[in-house]
Subunit: 102 residues, 2 copies
């Protein structure tokens, strides 16, 4: 039973799917700490608006690519990444003003 | 001749490759404006270090995934994205200190 499970996990296709899911979780959730930081500090002056707008446009295209390739990992990861980046873009418009120093 | 070229471009496989390459160019180059902004302002206080460190770890895993799937678009895009994020992480360590206000 354990050997069967290990053989299943060590199957290259399973391994690469695990790597893909881990990759998707990491690149997608990497925007969460930025959202938390922005929400806490209410400051996004140093964050480029082009980062989020280009990234979100790109993830929409990645979704189209993933749908055609029937790759659910690519579709799912980029769907969530699109949402996160659109939220960050709205936060940038709210918190993007520099803090008055003088 | 023109019809042959159009038929080649309108072929679904060609179209989806174009979408993939455009997606890769957008998500990868989205980090360039952030690098330019950080270089100009010498300030990255509002940028979360977890964004870059998680993203770079994720893109390395995406490269492994792309190599196994023999998908050059995924491998290439993530190789460049890894480099950009490592550079941004170094910039964060240099420019991450908040500007003294008081």
């Amino acid at each position: 039973m354990l050997i069967l499970l290990l053989r299943q996990i060590l199957n290259p296709d399973t391994l690469v799917s695990i790597v893909g899911v881990l990759a998707a979780i990491l690149t997608t959730s990497s925007f969460l700490p930025q959202m938390i930081k922005a929400y806490r500090t209410k400051s996004m002056h140093d964050v480029s608006r082009y980062l989020m707008s280009m990234f979100a446009t790109g993830t929409v295209l990645w979704m189209v690519y993933g749908i055609y390739k029937s790759d659910l990992v690519i579709v799912g990861a980029n769907a969530i990444a699109t949402v996160f980046n659109v939220v960050l873009l709205f936060m940038k418009f709210s918190y993007g003003k520099p803090t008055k120093v003088a």
